[in-house]
Symmetry: C2
């Protein structure tokens, strides 16, 4: 392969192509990132915030052009993509603000006391980070997405591997950010982009790369993780992978508002043609509630129409439905997609609860507008099934008011399996705020403490260093006596606000 | 093997033995830990602090008996061991205090705003933790060491694998803590101990175990890590492994006080018969300073005498010296150990700087009272050598005052390689305070963000969960509106002190 080819999902036609990056160029880009890492690390977060702001401004200024390009490669529609550009600019500014606030530095100062020497501890940037974007959010989880924005905010140079599902947009965004950073006075090398599978492998193997951030399938995430483990110096791969994101309907909720819940569930699992890592792929509803039929009816009524991002995703969704049937599920409703391009049918299947056993295909993600419905007899059966689930990014409970007797127990169970548990809300949306966690127990993420969205996203890209008996002028700014960056710190065990 | 045999290092004689734990018993202990995990997680840190305090009190009350037993198995001497008992009790109380302070919970509250739903984020205990203690600190890094104390403080049940270098003490400590916890009203299962290699493997493979903490050799740490990766659900192994811990002497310091530095270096690398993970194994001094001869003279003058903890360690230290010679080093001074038991010679070797190349045996730990000395020509040569070093737990700079021109550059270089950098202090001592970091870049630790000493040790045993639109009464205590635990929290992006 010599190029990433860009296709129009609506027709299957070719938009153009982007040549893959030759090895020597990958090496030069990585070397440039490594060469400026110390300089970038020493820059105050306020200055890096200026860089991120410049990128965000450039992104918004080019919105219409970028949305056209993105829509031609993803078929996600202008409205959704316009919103995503705004979100991506917002993310860049948010992570920069988080860095400026400074708590992510974990600045801690213990003055010498008795036999204990003076110690200060601060999180320092790891160094150059490789970012593998996702297909399904060409702005918000790709070249300029949460990973790039949080790594830059944390003081790490970034080398992006452009996604082959939107190579033209990736290249255009790469040029845009390079220019914006140059204009803002950032050092050469702080951002780079490569294209092509082999270039991605070379990135992960490059000795100067210190961490990898990835959003995508379990298969690809695990392959990157294996490659990173085989290095002379293994590095972390923060892989956020697809999961089933179960929705539990309590008895009271099913009785009070099943059809409303069914409509919401359909809206959630067919949003973006089911191409969300937080897509709810499984509803667990009370026995006899008729949940499967209610969801089937809601699906037929909504009749969602959309395209898969790639031919491979469209084919995998169809294959996935067949695999689910082979594993014991039964199709109860199917709505065909558009007549042309990478069309995909939206599908609801019902499945007996006892088929949901550990290791079953039924408990793995089927990426696309596909969901299962199962009915449970009682709390004990529900608990057993939740126990069988894999770790998941999110889980939702549809309960009936705060007094629903099934709420506390279900919440406690789902918390053991999910990185985020919602009550009343479907899991699809992921806001970028301080308290967000977008990650979860294995295999949702390779490290269940890591989040790719929210303020804590920065900490993936730092490591702590303790300085013992080091003279004050030789210390990094965040832990110098006079607190030049004006950040919250822990001094002799007490949190001190600036 | 049916038992861990206890030997007296001073004579090689047998003290007694502890039967290995049968599989069924290991399983029962793990099951008991899992059965109480939810209960332990919900207990307020103040209550868990009472448990830890009860253990600390019991430890101090039994000090004389425990020290006698430990000395018979380790030959570390009563004085050192008495200090270690006090330290271990102090650690138990410190980690409990850190938990009560509550920042480790990372409690974060974002109220609903615009399109963003209400989110709260809090670190929850991972669940049962397996702790593999170290041979070299029979109290402070073993059954009741930093790992056990921080895991309990974080709300996780603990199952310890007793160390075969001090099996009788391990068993005695296991009984002591079990009794103390029972008297304090802690649930059955919150602490367990197993003995024997196979029991340790079974622990790591047990599906209910959620994390492993380990202190010891790279070989053993990597073996545990591989086993943990092969599970259906991989779990983290927080392995803190031995490293070289280089000491750099600046030109000014060498000129001003070389013999003082040489004496300090000898004291540090022969402390505890060289059996510290923070033992400085390499001195880098200016060309022509005569550092190797100065260290040799200091060694002959100090004439340290001690035993290795085990026959294996004694043999590995002798073999290690031969390997260093084969790799290009030359013995410049050697002081024989005692005439009986697991005696080991204290050894200083000199080595040409250019032999210190990546991959060389010279850059790997030699556990025991053994150290290398090399001389560098200039800052560039020093930088190249530091660049070749493996990641390390600690590194030290011997500089001459705050104005030493070589201090800033050397500090910046060593920071890229070490989890802790000291100026003026030798690296051996590791205080347990808020700002401590006892970890470092690969291969010092399997995860360079993890520390086994200091307040941040707790975070290894938690994972974050975000609750979205969850009614306040259903939330965990740390993130309920009324802040029942009185902890620092971040509310709508602002840190709020209690």
């Amino acid at each position: 392969m010599t190029a990433d080819v860009s296709y129009d999902p609506r027709t299957g036609g070719v938009n153009g192509e982007v040549p893959i990056t030759p090895e020597a160029e990958v090496d030069a880009i990585v070397a440039a990132a490594a060469a400026c890492a110390t300089e970038v690390a020493a820059v105050p977060p306020t200055e890096r915030a200026r860089w991120s702001g410049a990128i965000a401004d450039a992104l918004e200024a080019a919105r219409d052009e970028l949305v056209d390009l993105a829509d031609s490669e993803t078929a996600l529609g202008r409205k959704r993509l316009e919103g995503e550009v705004g979100r991506t600019a917002g993310q860049l500014r948010f992570y920069a603000d988080v860095a400026v606030e400074g708590s992510y530095l974990g600045a801690t100062i213990d003055h010498a006391a008795g036999a204990n020497p003076a110690l200060v501890r601060v999180n320092v940037p790891r160094g150059p980070v490789a970012v593998f974007g996702a297909s399904n959010f060409p702005f918000a989880f790709s070249v300029l997405g949460n990973d790039t924005a949080s790594a830059l905010a944390a003081g790490c140079p970034v080398v992006v591997k452009g996604h082959p599902a939107h190579p033209l947009l990736s290249r255009r965004l790469g040029a845009l950010v390079t220019e914006a950073l140059r204009d803002a006075g950032a050092p050469e090398g702080v951002f780079g982009i490569v294209h092509g599978f082999d270039a991605g492998v070379r990135l992960v193997e490059a000795p100067q790369i210190t961490a990898v951030a990835f959003t995508g399938s379990q298969r690809a995430g695990m392959a990157l993780r294996d490659a990173a483990e085989k290095r002379d110096v293994p590095i972390p791969v923060f892989a956020e992978m697809g999961t089933v994101n179960p929705v539990v309907v309590t008895a009271a909720a099913a009785q009070a508002r099943l059809s409303e819940i069914a409509s919401g569930f359909v809206g959630s699992f067919t949003l973006g043609t089911g191409q969300f890592c937080t897509k709810p792929g499984l509803m667990l509803a009370p026995r006899g509630s008729g949940a499967a039929e209610a969801v089937a009816e809601a699906l037929r009524e909504a009749s969602p129409q959309g395209w898969s991002l790639t031919q491979g995703i469209a084919e995998a969704a169809s294959t996935g439905v067949r695999e689910l049937v082979d594993a014991g599920a039964e199709v109860v409703a199917q709505v065909d997609g558009p007549d042309a391009g990478w069309s995909v049918a939206s599908t609801v299947l019902s499945v007996p609860l006892d088929a949901l056993e550990p290791g079953s295909r039924l408990l793995e993600e089927c990426f696309g507008p596909v969901a299962l419905v199962a009915e449970y007899d009682d709390g004990e059966a529900l608990a057993r099934t939740v126990g069988a689930l894999q770790g998941t990014l999110a889980a939702a409970i549809m309960a009936e008011g705060d007094e629903d007797p099934d709420l506390p127990g279900t919440l406690a169970q789902l918390t053991t399996k999910a990185g985020r548990v919602t009550v009343g809300d479907f899991p699809t949306g992921v806001s970028y705020t301080w308290a967000q966690h977008h990650g979860g127990p294995w295999p949702a993420t390779s490290d269940p403490t890591a989040t790719s969205v929210g303020a804590a996203a920065l900490t993936r890209f730092t490591r702590p260093v303790t300085y013992q008996s080091v003279p004050d002028p030789a210390l990094p700014a965040p832990v110098r006596d006079d607190n030049p960056w004006g950040i919250p710190r822990r001094v002799d065990g007490r949190l001190v606000l600036p």
